[in-house]
């Protein structure tokens, strides 16, 4: 069964902008996929669909299927439990005063008991390398720490799939390196929208390139990114890291 199955997904914003024009792809469980494309190509819009945050009124036409189940108003809660969405701006996602409260938010919504919630908070913070941060104020964290706290908040819900929107933007090189290592450790199915092409090469065997709301290419990351004309045509570039990889 496919973890994610998108069939001919279309979306138009209120102002008439066509953000997605018939997108189709499938993701098998355990895959790690990079979603590439220039600014405004529809990456974030696509990610919001995976969590049922878009369209505003869910019609349940079967364009989005998560674990074989079509997204519909009745199973929204179930689907949101399976798909963990990490937003681009950590300040949007960390809406509680302290780190512990924020990480506990998801488990609380799941209706878990207090002991279970505390255990999950502890585990999630340890997973992202922020042990002992429970009582820290979210607005006092550095940007890298905020990113990790966001991830912890999503991991605490134990989702089967992780969907990340530009997880490494605004991070310093060390923060980026550490966050990549962190992502590699997480066994969930991952879909990562990013401009960090090196991360795509390092973490994601498969890439999907999106432009003007359409899928331009879908295939092995090293092959797609080595195709210079394709890269340049869609606001991307051939990353230097490819020069250091040996062809297999």
């Amino acid at each position: 069964m496919n973890a994610i199955e998108i069939t001919n997904l279309k979306y138009r914003y209120h102002d008439g902008t066509e953000a997605l024009r018939g997108i189709s792809f499938r993701v098998s469980p355990g895959e790690c996929i990079a979603l590439l494309g220039p600014n405004g190509s529809g990456k974030s819009t696509l990610l919001l669909h995976l969590n049922g945050l878009l369209p505003e009124k869910i019609i349940g036409d079967g364009a989005v299927k998560i674990s074989g189940e079509a997204l519909a108003p009745e199973n929204l809660a179930k689907i949101r439990r399976q798909v963990g969405l990490v937003f681009q701006d950590p300040d949007d996602q960390l809406f509680c005063p302290t780190v512990a409260e924020d990480v506990a938010f998801g488990p609380q919504q799941l209706g878990l008991g207090e002991a279970e919630i505390a255990a999950r908070v502890k585990l999630a913070l340890a997973q992202v390398g922020l042990p002992g941060f429970e009582q820290r104020f979210t607005h006092h964290l550095s940007h890298g720490e905020k990113r990790r706290a966001c991830l912890a908040g999503v991991l605490a819900c134990e989702p089967a799939m992780l969907v990340l929107d530009e997880p490494t933007s605004d991070l310093d090189p060390r923060g980026r390196r550490e966050f990549k290592a962190l992502l590699r450790e997480i066994p969930a199915t991952k879909l990562i929208a990013t401009h960090d092409l090196e991360m795509a090469v390092e973490l994601c065997p498969r890439s999907i390139i999106l432009d003007h709301g359409q899928i331009i290419a879908d295939g092995r990351t090293v092959e797609l990114l080595a195709d210079e004309p394709l890269m340049l045509a869609h606001g991307l570039e051939r990353p230097h890291i490819l020069h250091h990889l040996h062809p297999h």
Binding site: L48, N51, L53, A77, R80, R81, G84, L85, F87, D89, D91, D92, Q93, L94, F95, C96, P97, T98, F105, G106, Q109, L110, F137, T138, H139, H140, L141, G153, V154, C157
Partner: protein, 203 residues
């Protein structure tokens, strides 16, 4: 500089800072109620409250100047209300009484706010079963005040770096457009926060 370098209100080392938030809230409420309910002529009663507050002030080891600045910041509101009393018969006396009473209440709340971290106050409200919507709104407001302050500062700086004229009028115009822009950004952010909450199961 970002807002996260601002000191958090209510962080401190004195015994007053360390005493439980619930107790402080109760005392503050009692003092405010006493001031409000005491008749104008009971100057002795008001004097007792003033003595208690002064004792607490000394006890809190907060700088007097710091508290005075906070009070002055809120004084226009007090003056606005008290000023209306002038127009009554015998207005002078009423004005003085209202000024004293309002300032005593103000000092109580300023003391409470500066000796108790906001998060602890909210927790007490939660335990007191204050309506959930009110507590959530307060919590979110506190969380995003810092973000908004940062955003305002960034916009102000970006404007200032490209503002070459010194005209007052132009400055006011920019200010108004910053405020408008801030409003738009805040409401867009509110939508994104709501999405983030729904994504983690908020109903």
């Amino acid at each position: 500089m970002t807002a996260r370098h601002f000191m958090d209100h209510g962080q401190g080392q004195s015994a007053l800072h360390r005493s439980p938030a619930g107790l402080k809230l109760a005392i503050a409420l009692a003092l405010v109620l006493a001031v409000v309910l005491l008749p104008r002529t009971q100057i002795a009663g008001l004097f007792v409250v003033a003595v208690i507050l002064t004792a607490l002030l000394v006890f809190s080891r907060l700088s007097f100047l710091f508290l005075l600045k906070r009070m002055v910041l809120l004084e226009p509101l007090v003056l606005g209300v008290a000023g209306l009393m002038w127009f009554q018969p015998g207005g002078g006396k009423i004005f003085a009484a209202v000024m004293v009473k309002a300032n005593l209440c103000l000092l109580t709340t300023v003391l409470l706010a500066n000796t108790t971290p906001f998060t602890e106050l909210v927790r007490v409200l939660q335990r007191l079963r204050v309506p959930w919507l009110f507590v959530t709104t307060l919590t979110l407001m506190h969380r995003y005040l810092f973000v908004l302050a940062d955003e305002t500062e960034r916009m102000r700086r970006a404007r200032a770096s490209r503002t070459f004229t010194r005209g007052r009028r132009f400055q006011w115009q920019t200010l108004s457009s910053v405020v408008g822009q801030l409003f738009v950004r805040a409401s867009e952010r509110a939508e994104r926060i709501y999405s983030a909450m729904t994504a983690r199961g908020w109903k």
